[in-house]
């Protein structure tokens, strides 16, 4: 380790600033523990901040997430690193861990940036916007999204041409191309892993045509189209900008499918699809929505009632697995599917198809542990060492897991799991005093 590396000391390191990590951090900070929250994206808020409304209450996700995030960002006991990675975690002894936190350069001085967006207007480079899931473009200098925290610009150096246009227009001179990677040696007593999940990449199912057929999109892309910070301000099919009026949902895309290496159910797709169907009926009152499903997993509090509500609203539910999607010349799509109730293979035409993609483990964090093994379960989620009595416990004493890092779960369950992780961390920290 280099001599110049800055040292930092906290009680707890929370890895991942989504809703579960945020909840754990906030609970711990409220009990006066000093927390370092490390987030690899440019904003905290995880996947939830990107969503439209959330089931089964149809609360606006941004309205729930932003104040929580604001509370986390302001909390005197919480220090946040965004655009940062945790590496080389070593357990020295009980209640004593060390980790390297790598702060990647943002090339913007966050404290001076006012979020005025003049740099965005000046930047000549346009690339696909990852925070809008590729639906629209963004500049090489950009504010991740309008409700990001911190709401500050960042430079995507891979795509930046170093033309200097942003520097010239910035009223606070906060652009700084001299920034370099910075490593911090962090000493902590305990760790909460809340690294969330990845979405299934439907390119792995070529027969569904995602990436080839423009009007086949993922549920996350539909989520962005329905969100208050939506890119088009209405629902459009990407192929030709037409408003769709006959939308199909293909459930279990990438879930419950051993051929894709993911035998388990993703737990959230049924409900978010039912929710999107309800929101679409509001946004496009004339549109027909069909959901192709195997079983509707409406199991949580108020979920089954929410599913019944969608049926009453006129959402069509077809029990059957979609085998193949083909494209017509006009951009419409033909779904070939097994109609279980009719007992035969059928075809149906839709003008837009949403693939309800599943939840996959966000792998990699276990590699950051150096001298102790953070064990994974058979599906590569973080293994819960004592799942029934202490669900947040992992294979390493003092390291706890929160949210979807341990398996698929919905928002209410993730928040409860964040609460559980903070509780177990609290009692672990208390034992250090005894």
């Amino acid at each position: 380790m280099s001599e110049q590396m800055k040292s930092l000391e906290f009680d707890v390191l929370v890895i991942g600033g989504g809703i579960a990590g945020g909840e754990a951090a906030l609970n711990l900070a409220n009990l006066n523990y000093k927390v370092l929250l490390v987030e690899k994206e440019l904003s905290i808020g995880g996947k939830m901040i990107m969503l439209s409304k959330v089931f089964p209450t149809l609360d606006c996700a941004a309205c729930i997430t932003t104040p929580k995030i604001s509370e986390i960002a302001r909390h005197p006991n919480i220090t946040i690193f965004t655009g940062a990675e945790t590496r080389k975690i070593t357990k020295i002894e009980e209640h004593h861990f060390e980790a390297i936190v790598l702060q990647k350069p943002r090339y913007v001085n966050v404290t001076d940036c006012t979020g005025c967006q003049l740099c965005e207007q000046a930047c000549p480079v346009s690339v696909s916007d990852q925070y809008q899931y590729g639906l629209v473009g963004r500049k090489a200098v950009y504010i991740p999204f309008s409700i990001a925290s911190p709401r500050a610009a960042a430079i995507d150096i891979e795509n930046c041409t170093l033309c200097g246009a942003c520097e010239r227009v910035c009223p606070t001179q906060c652009i700084d191309f001299t920034q370099t990677e910075e490593e911090f040696l962090v000493t902590i007593k305990s760790i909460v892993v809340a690294t969330g999940f990845d979405l299934f990449d439907p390119l792995k199912i070529p027969r569904y045509g995602y990436g080839t057929f423009k009007n086949v999109i993922t549920s996350m892309q539909m989520e962005r189209q329905l969100a208050p910070t939506r890119p088009y301000n209405t629902i459009l099919r990407p192929g030709d900008g037409k408003m769709p009026d006959n939308i199909a949902y293909v459930l279990c895309t990438g879930s419950r499918d051993k051929s894709l290496g993911n035998p388990i159910c993703s737990q959230i797709c049924c409900m978010y699809s039912v929710k999107q169907a309800q929101l679409l009926m509001g946004a496009l009152p004339m549109a027909d929505i069909t959901i192709y499903y195997l079983h509707i997993r409406a199991f949580g509090k108020g979920f089954n009632e929410f599913y019944a509500q969608a049926q009453d609203m006129g959402v069509e539910f077809v029990k059957g697995k979609v085998g193949k999607i083909t494209e017509k010349e006009n951009g419409n799509l033909i779904l070939r599917y097994e109609d279980i109730e009719q007992g035969k293979v059928q075809e149906a035409e839709h003008d837009m198809v949403v693939l309800s993609v599943g939840v996959l483990p966000n792998q990699g964090i276990s590699d950051a542990f150096e001298n102790k093994k953070l064990e994974l379960d058979p599906f590569n989620f973080i293994n819960q060492a004592d799942i029934l009595a202490s669900p947040a416990k992992t294979s390493i004493d003092g390291v706890f897991v929160a949210g979807t890092a341990s398996g698929p779960m919905d928002i209410p369950d993730s928040i409860l799991s964040g609460g559980a992780a903070s509780a177990e961390t609290t009692s672990y920290l208390r034992r250090a005093l005894l």
Partner: protein
């Protein structure tokens, strides 16, 4: 009167501005009396806007603030905190709801919605003009928590609270701890038995000197409020001395002439009036069920440990917070529901679990060996005609897991699952897969077309129109029919009535907000956990128990709480105690006290929620609400009436 009011009107990213012309609202109020600054904003609650508000308050020296956005339920506290950060007393903030009450309610009439929004914002401005700075009510908090219910959730919460540093009273109504999980054998996921899990938790509970366990104990009275509850607990004696000798004890059980259905085994067996729960029950001391004991005295003759002189005791416990972990009841099918109570080989899922527990090499029920088992799912859940519209969440997985266990434990078992769409969510999918591979047969129907059970001769038939085989009518001869019953709220929920805990549409306890405050209730200081809140499996119950423990601990840890000062106040001069306010109060916040030679009402400010129920019933108008006085309301009504 405020002179420098700042007004912020929120787009809510389209939630409001799609239906309300927010710029028009801004223009309509910017010249109102006292308004110094009026802005619109994309998301008022976003961090960037909060920063801007703080800067405005500081730079422009604003003396009060109105935000017109969503329901105050969501963000009243958010914006109060903003004003506080800017150095303003937070009661100089007023919230106007133009989303739930306007844009969402009038999406069909944009012009009308905009007009309504204008009036609502004007009313908020009228209110803020009279706003006064208030200080919170400070109360000391006792660093102790009462955990009600010693099932897995309650025991886990108790352990966590004690480890965090609180004193814990763990109060269990039954004579034995463990709740429902004690009644189960192999548990899903770990293959640990229910008994083993209970043993682990009980040992931990007993290890902690900060946890005091009461069994046979029930809360019968509650006084006080958050920070300072005083609970009266009735402790029923078990009529046993601690040092009992086991062979004497067995003799006592043997001689007891009373035989009643054993609830621990869901009434498939009987027990005596002196009883154990099971051989390794906790605490490891039997109890006498005085409801059924005839006091014949036979047991006393053979066992010295029996002590009929033990008396019911009442304790007063002082706690800062109450954590409810009262669990659920299994759904009890109605007589005749899928043959229950009429056909002898129809049992419920919990009964089936106990039958499997007692059968070693052969599965035998009522003397007959069982080979064909028909499981009927969703009994008592997802009801079409009944009240239980909800899914009970755990039953698909729990039943399939049990069906696999049965198939592996006994020979020649054939499982037939009559389901409505299997919901083995998440990783539980692997059991559904495993059972299919083991040859279990799944037959499915929709809610409105459930399977039919019929007794013909000495055989029981289950018939279904199976949608998995294009609606063919299929029939299975079943040796045993298992009704896969769901979870329902506890029949005896007196504790909820005592504490006035609100219930949801499903009749389980309701949280304040499923995502923002999932374990807190509107009764300050009372948290909820486990299946008392809705169906949950063990892991999910544990998560909620731990989350609730965190919230309860946060309340008591600091030793002092700041409560809302917006409560009712009594004008003692005009009050001449009549008791109407006390009757109207849903929170029991009123006391009758003697003052200057007459009786008057007194408000317990720590209990009062400022709901205003008492105001209209007072015949002499002696009551007012701090922060929402009659004068405030009148000025708001004036503002709400559009000037033509």
């Amino acid at each position: 009167m405020k002179q420098k009011i700042g007004v912020y009107i929120c787009h809510c990213g389209g939630n409001i501005s799609d239906y309300v012309d927010v710029e028009k609202v801004r223009q309509s109020i910017e010249h109102d009396e006292g308004v110094f600054l009026a802005k619109t904003t994309m998301f008022a609650c976003a961090d960037s806007n909060q920063k801007e508000m703080v800067e405005d308050i500081e730079n422009e020296k604003l003396d009060s603030v109105v935000v017109a956005s969503c329901s105050p339920k969501l963000h009243l506290l958010t914006f109060r905190a903003v004003t506080e950060r800017a150095g303003l007393n937070k009661y100089n903030y007023v919230h106007a709801n133009i989303r739930e009450q306007v844009s969402w309610a009038h999406s069909d009439n944009k012009e009308g919605a905009t007009q309504k929004a204008i009036q609502i914002v004007k009313a908020a401005i009228a209110k803020v003009r009279n706003a006064e700075s208030l200080e919170p009510i400070k109360v000391k908090a006792t660093n102790a928590v009462a955990v009600i219910g010693a099932g897995v959730a309650g025991m886990r919460a108790a352990i966590e609270l004690a480890e965090a540093g609180a004193d814990v009273y763990l109060i269990e109504r039954e004579f034995f701890v463990g709740g429902r999980v004690a009644q189960w054998d192999d548990l899903c996921i770990t293959e640990e038995t229910g008994k083993e899990l209970i043993t682990r938790l009980y040992d931990e509970v007993m290890k902690h000197k900060h946890v005091t366990l009461f069994t046979g104990a029930e809360v019968v009275e509650n006084k006080g409020s958050v920070g300072n509850f005083t609970l009266k607990v009735k402790v029923t004696p078990r009529h046993f001395k601690l040092n009992c000798i086991s062979n004497e004890l067995q003799k006592a059980i043997d001689v007891c002439p009373v035989e009643v259905p054993d609830e621990f085994n869901f009434n498939i067996t009987t027990r005596k009036a002196i009883y154990h729960n099971y051989p390794s029950e906790y605490p490891q001391l039997p109890a006498i069920d005085m409801k059924n004991c005839t006091r014949c005295g036979e047991c006393e003759k053979v066992c010295n440990s029996i002590d009929f002189s033990q008396k019911t005791e009442y304790l007063n416990l002082k706690v800062g917070s109450i954590l409810l972990a009262t669990g659920f009841d299994p759904y009890e099918p109605k007589h005749g529901e899928f043959g229950y109570g009429e056909i002898e080989n129809v049992v419920t899922f919990p009964q089936f679990k106990r039958i499997v527990h007692y059968c070693d090499d052969k599965l035998i029920y009522k003397g007959k060996e069982i080979k064909n088992i028909a499981y009927i799912y969703c009994v008592g859940s997802r009801q079409v005609d009944g009240e239980n519209k909800y899914c009970s969440r755990y039953c698909c997985t729990a039943n399939i897991h049990t069906a696999i266990t049965v198939k592996k434990k006994y020979k020649n078992i054939h499982n037939f699952h009559f389901n409505r769409g299997i919901r083995t969510y998440g990783k539980a999918e692997i059991w559904y897969d495993e059972s299919s591979r083991l040859g279990d047969i799944y037959l499915q129907s929709f809610e409105h077309d459930p399977p039919v059970i019929e007794k013909r001769g000495d055989q029981t038939f289950v018939r279904i129109k199976d949608i998995l085989t294009t609606n063919k009518e299929l029939e299975v001869v079943a040796d045993l029919v298992v009704l896969v019953t769901g979870m329902v709220p506890r029949k005896d929920n007196s504790i909820a009535n005592l504490l006035k805990i609100p219930k949801g549409r499903d009749n389980f306890f309701n949280e304040i907000h499923m995502k923002l405050r999932p374990v807190e209730t509107v009764i300050d200081g009372v948290t909820i956990s486990g299946a008392s809140q809705g169906p949950k499996n063990i892991m999910e119950s544990m998560n909620s128990a731990l989350a609730a423990a965190t919230k309860s601990f946060e309340l008591v840890a600091s030793g002092e709480l700041a409560l809302e000062p917006t409560v009712a106040k009594v004008d003692e001069q005009s009050c001449d105690w009549c008791g109407k306010c006390e009757e109207a109060c849903p929170y029991s916040a009123f006391d009758k006290i003697e003052k200057d030679g007459k009786f008057v009402a007194r408000v317990n400010a720590a209990v009062c929620k400022g709901c205003g129920m008492c105001l209209p019933v007072c015949p002499v108008n002696a009551l007012d609400l701090i922060g929402l006085t009659d004068e405030d309301v009148e000025s708001m009504i004036d503002a709400l009436i559009p000037t033509v």
